[in-house]
């Protein structure tokens, strides 16, 4: 019985390692290569060990008919935008046909590219491309000043300058805790 249990545990552990290795090393590269893998909520149950969730998402315009197709390499497999019937506003300037690539600066969670396809002067497809970060060491971006991250959560309030809450609105601001703190600071 003991041997059986051990064997079972070994098999499960082995499979888990193989699965993790797949998610960590193989899947991100697949995601990087394929321009569009369909639905963004890819059903990877455990993204364990992987910095990214491996999904190149597709978003379309007003309707949400993302196709959860397999990872074909065609950017055309994504949904089409601007199919709203009540479409009244045309863009003022005509866009040159072709594919535009819009690249944001990478952040600690990776890098996102948008591929926007224009045909007949109108945007027909928006594809989101996720470029995984390579390795964990990139997770901290150099900021303008060194990240002296000294953080602590303590039980009670001493001298606070800000309040982080979920209910603050302009109408409720007068006599709020933040309002009182601001006035006290300025009075010093």
């Amino acid at each position: 019985m003991k041997t059986f249990t051990r064997t079972a545990i070994a098999i499960v552990a082995g499979l888990a390692i193989i699965g993790d290795a797949f998610l960590l090393f193989v899947k991100p590269h697949l995601a990087q290569q394929s321009t569009s893998t369909g639905l963004a909520t890819a059903g990877t149950e455990s993204g364990a060990g992987s910095t990214n969730s491996n999904d190149a998402g597709t978003t379309d315009g007003t309707s949400n008919n993302s196709d959860s197709a397999s990872g074909s390499n065609s950017a055309d497999s994504s949904g089409t935008a601007s199919d709203s019937s009540s479409d009244s506003s045309d863009s003022s300037s005509t866009l040159t046909d072709g594919t535009y690539t819009s690249v944001s600066t990478p952040n600690e969670y990776g890098e996102i590219q948008l591929q926007v396809k224009v045909s007949g002067g109108k945007i027909t497809t928006i594809t989101t491309l996720k470029v995984p970060t390579h390795g964990r060491s990139q997770s901290v971006n150099a900021q303008a000043i060194p990240e002296l991250t000294e953080r602590a959560i303590s039980a009670q309030s001493a001298d606070i300058q800000f309040v982080s809450g979920a209910t603050e609105t302009s109408t409720a601001f007068v006599n709020s805790l933040q309002d009182a703190i601001n006035q006290a600071l300025n009075a010093d």
């Binding site: 007003t62 309707s63 535009y100 600066t105 952040n107 600690e108 945007i123 303590s154 800000f162 309040v163």
Partner: protein, 303 residues
């Protein structure tokens, strides 16, 4: 003796608080400085509202909802928002580019930057953070935190870097970005609101450079689809407010257990994030960063 000055800006129907601290300047000197920078921050926040409000008929988000996604391809320097943000000092760190089919390069529009962030957030959170709400594009959930982080970076960081003040923070609607000059010992103390007592806090977070965001069931303007209701309030602390805000919303949407699993599965999040949760039964729980930190940093244990 450290002095602090505070100013309030009303934009996006939210009161934003801007604070500057100095170890050496007089209160009067600091007041002059803050009165110079406050209108610039206010202009920026109002331009963000013009661009992103789903309630304005002339916003780019409204245009997108009607099928016009051309703001994605707009050159930032053509349009209202990043124009004034730029003014010669737009940080290169956030100067994304758009490559046109004819090979020309444009500065990425803020609309495209936020769109990309929304898509990234959706992937990171396995869909718990979703740019589509009730069938329409709705970046409301990320724009406030993003705007505070950008405004802090573009208008307040230069004051620290040039030595005009020692610390600067900007917050609105519970989302706060802070920074301190590395030559100063100043720390920001931020109270986590007690949702059951408007004048009470349940925890104090001590931080220097970072973002802190709180999401809750009663928060206005947040369109959160919830799969569970075990959390009343979630406060997340990270290096960057945009993501702290996104994770706080995710915690409310996904619940504490799923949130912890999402963070545990993501090394960048696990390494960075701290959190304070208020559960439906009123108890408070905390999330600590997952990995041990290098000796140069100081993250005392939770008390």
């Amino acid at each position: 003796m450290t002095v602090i000055q505070a100013r309030v800006i009303h934009a996006m129907t939210i009161p934003f608080t801007l604070q500057l601290a100095s170890d050496t300047a007089s209160a009067a000197q600091l007041a002059t400085l803050i009165d110079t920078v406050t209108p610039r921050v206010a202009d920026f926040l109002r331009q963000v509202e013009t661009t992103f409000s789903p309630f304005r008929s002339d916003s780019q988000v409204t245009a997108a909802r009607h099928g016009d996604w051309s703001p994605l391809l707009a050159d930032a320097s053509d349009h209202h928002l990043p124009q004034s943000a730029a003014q010669g000092q737009r940080p290169s760190r956030h100067a994304g580019i758009t490559l046109a089919p004819d090979g020309t390069r444009r500065t990425q529009s803020a609309f495209a930057e936020v769109y990309a962030l929304m898509e990234q957030a959706k992937g990171l959170t396995h869909g718990h953070f979703d740019p589509m709400h009730a069938g329409a594009y709705d970046p409301t959930g990320i724009v406030k935190g993003w705007a505070v982080e950008r405004a802090h970076e573009q208008f307040l960081m230069p004051l620290i870097k040039s030595g005009q003040c020692d610390a600067a923070a900007l917050g609105g609607g519970g989302d706060i970005q802070t920074a301190v000059a590395d030559t100063s010992d100043f720390t920001w103390n931020i109270g986590v609101q007690d949702p059951s007592n408007p004048h009470g806090t349940v925890r104090t977070v001590t931080m220097r450079n970072g973002g802190i965001a709180t999401s809750g069931t009663s928060q206005r303007g947040e369109h959160i689809t919830r799969s569970t209701h075990d959390l009343t309030q979630a406060t997340v602390i990270g290096d960057h407010l945009t993501f702290a805000d996104m994770w706080a919303t995710t915690a409310i949407s996904a619940g504490e257990r799923t949130f912890r699993e999402l963070v545990a599965a993501n090394p960048a999040a696990q390494n960075d994030l701290m959190a304070v949760f208020i559960r439906a039964d009123g108890t408070v729980s905390e999330l600590k960063p997952g990995r041990s930190t290098p000796p140069s940093t100081n993250r005392p244990a939770l008390s």
